[in-house]
């Protein structure tokens, strides 16, 4: 329904406004995902169970929230429950006037909301009535107060580890995406507001994958895309129906290059989670920078400055003439994006302290010292992948959600002037 609403609204918007409005629209839409109608059925069920024990008459009602329900939902459910109880002839009165007291505890287990009602009548042991319903989760909103801000827009979620997501169309509202995991590339198309599987392309590999598996989807000119995985390279067929042909390979992976610098590739260790450090053709004469997790290019007038997030915890900077290593409060994953904000490009970096879920922050690098230009965008889990979007104007972040263990892919965009 959210997608349908967007399709209607976008017709009336100038092209230039669409992207900003889409961001706002999606954020606001998802905030209101849980509506009163979601709770009315279980509220009705519980009211019936209560009425089945007490019969019509005067009851006192107390409600207690021991679940992750937000206050607005707790209030909404409480209101619905009272309405349903009234419709069954139960009148809410003060405890001293009540024939029965009803205490409802809104609780939960890993899969369900569990609403437990204890009904006391006289001195008898309480009667317990239970209603359960599947849990669902809200999408949070990020508040900020810096010159720029980061926005995350959910793209896809699944149980298996997402390695990369590629948006296959030019539309600012994704209609066609490819999702890479360890076993397949799944292509989805948006139809009537719902994602539908268009094709599943299996990935064949002889060796077991290493832990902390990483992979990269790269759109190609003469075919749909290439897939880089540890020790494996896959390529889609040129003709339809689409096939994915995989082979064992130690070919270097293309390193993301938003700066338009000379293309650079890095060799990836087939049984580990890092690049070996060997580069081709190299940054100037530099062909080995030591093991690193990720690399980004930052534009300069006549050259590009490369930043490598090293396995040793340092960030190595190389511009073809000089090299330098520095300790920054950054994590393992970096990506650079080209935007209309600030100096026109920003580096997005994970934070080193990931004890309470990872975060992303935007930086600009005037000389060699990065300056934060946004507040941290928090995620409810660890960031397991961070790659640039196809057009380098946003990033794709994959997060392993802490509580559910599900993987969620987000498009992260830099928003100017806030």
């Amino acid at each position: 329904m959210v997608i349908e609403m967007w399709q209607s609204i976008r017709l009336f918007l100038p092209m230039a406004c669409r992207r900003s409005f889409l961001t706002l629209f999606l954020v606001l839409s998802f905030v209101g995902v849980l509506t009163a109608s979601d709770w009315s059925d279980p509220a009705r069920q519980l009211a019936r169970k209560i009425a089945g024990v007490t019969g019509p008459g005067a009851v006192s009602i107390t409600l207690e929230n021991r679940s992750s329900l937000a206050k607005k939902d707790f209030d909404a459910v409480g209101g619905l429950l009272r309405i349903e109880m009234e419709s069954l002839g139960l009148r809410a009165v003060a405890e001293e006037q009540a024939a029965a007291s009803v205490h409802v505890t809104f609780s939960e287990n890993p899969q369900f909301y569990v609403w437990v009602t204890e009904i006391r009548q006289g001195n008898a042991d309480p009667t317990v009535a239970i209603v359960s319903l599947p849990r669902r989760d809200e999408i949070g909103v990020v508040h900020d107060s810096m010159p720029m801000s980061l926005r995350k827009i959910p793209l896809w979620a699944q149980e298996s580890r997402i390695l990369d997501v590629s948006v296959l169309d030019d539309d600012s509202a994704p209609q066609h995406i490819a999702v890479l995991d360890g076993e397949r590339v799944a292509i989805y198309r948006q139809k009537n507001g719902k994602w539908q599987t268009e094709q599943n392309l299996a990935i064949t590999h002889a060796r077991p994958w290493p832990h902390d598996l990483r992979g990269l989807l790269i759109p190609a000119k003469d075919h749909l895309f290439d897939v880089y995985l540890p020790g494996v390279f896959c390529q889609t067929s040129v003709s339809v129906p689409l096939n994915l042909n995989c082979r064992e390979s130690d070919d270097p992976w293309p390193l993301p290059n938003a700066a338009g610098a000379q293309p650079l590739r890095g060799f990836y260790a087939a049984s580990r989670n890092f690049f070996t450090g060997a580069l081709t053709p190299g940054v100037g004469s530099l062909t080995n920078v030591g093991k690193f997790y990720s690399a980004v290019a930052v534009p300069r007038t006549h050259y590009a400055l490369w930043l490598f997030a090293g396995v040793d915890g340092q960030v190595h900077l190389a511009d073809g003439v000089s090299e330098q290593s520095t300790k920054l409060d950054w994590g393992s994953d970096l990506v650079s994006v080209r935007t209309g904000c600030g100096v026109g490009w920003q580096v997005l970096a994970t934070a080193a302290d990931a004890t309470n879920g990872d975060s992303l922050r935007a930086y600009e690098i005037a000389d060699r010292d990065p300056a934060a230009v946004s507040v941290a965008l928090d995620f409810s889990g660890e960031i397991t992948a961070l790659w640039p979007d196809v057009k380098y104007d946003s990033a794709i972040a994959v997060v392993r959600e802490r509580e559910r263990g599900e993987y969620e892919a987000f498009r992260v965009a830099v928003v100017c002037g806030e």
Binding site: P110, V114, H211, N273, L328, G331, D353, G405
Partner: protein, 462 residues
Amino acid sequence: MKRFVWLWFAASSLALAGQVSTAETRPQYGGTLRIAIREEITSLDPGDSAQSDSVARRNVFGLIFETLVTVDDRGRVHPALATRWQAEPGNQRWQFEIRRGVKFHDGSELTPEVAAAALRASNPAWRVLAQGDFVVVECERADSELPAELALTHNSIARKNNGAKDGVAKISGTGPFRIETWQPGKYLTLAAEENHWRGRAFVDSIDIQMGKNFREQALELEGDKADVVEVAPEQVQRVIMAGQHVSSSQPVELLALVFADEPRNTDDKTIRSALAHSIERRSMRTVLLQGSGVPVASLLPNWMTGYGSAFSTDVELKRAREERTQVHDAPVLTVGYDANDSLARTLVERVALNAQDAGLTLRPLASTNTDLRLMRIPLASPDPWVSLENEAEVLDLAVPQTTGDSVEDLFAAEQALLAKQRVIPLLYLPTDWALSPAVGDWSVGADGSWRLDEVSMGKDRP
């Protein structure tokens, strides 16, 4: 002295935290993880029922052995050594397709025949056979929870080589770590299996020292001789206040008073009810456990069911006294505890004091031959049905048959078990671990299970 140890932790951990403040967030390969535990594991046979069940034992076995399936924190079953499974109508006969290309640490291949033999050995009541790529399990009765049961440690797939002279070579698993050295009850060294089917673990090896009490473990951590140690529940708050990194599971171990027999008559039932109503669980938690654990009157913890509030943990002394007066000659009840378990002794003494307030006489004894005893019962699985069935088995009770598997059905089954008055639940305790700053990406499952193939060691220690 204890105070000194933990204060020293605070200082040392702050210093080390400073050294790793710019650590990368992706895990690193290499290094040795050193763990100390109290448990003295004397057999590495997962099917050996002579050893008592514990979270620590399960964790050690989970490094070496694997099961056909696993259960996640939400109780959902996932493929492991079996890639898929299905039940025939009636849920009595199940087929599991065995993963191809998996090897035991001795180099032999995992086959349906070997998997079937392992399951037959640990489940004599089942008919287990190999058919093509499948293992077929036929239960005595319909069992919709069979996949989750197969994730239990005693259903690990182990290959036994009875001809081997070396104790290490006698048993082999398919897990992420293989046995390097093994001194029963004392020491176990494991090495990462390079070609594990889920990928090689990050650390090169794991050293496990056994039979270390809490104090010895604290000293091991303090002296940089261990990276991961257990923390006594009553010490957790103090350790956290001292700045140490403590990792805790959900409450996974039930402490309960278990009667030796079913109640013989109405008086017996009334006395048991009076005892249950007299117990002050909340003060046990706040005073004796220093805020650790959760008071419970249910067999399963609230995080797993959501309906824990339906079982009141309030002390009802007036009601207990009234019940006591209904019985003319209340017997003196002996209540047993494990002599090596200081917490159990303290709790039992507190129960005896509470009972005294209600006019009951309980005599604590460090013995198992008593009218009732304090037991520790670890949750068997993140699957609530499997855990309830296991608890019923420990209590020597039959699980009530239900028509469905909803939360409401689970509540009804648990209520029926408690109505038999064989057990008085007291508290649920989590498992708590103190970690050195070198340990990265540590996490435990809701059931206290280690995920050590995901752990990496920081670069500040080789």
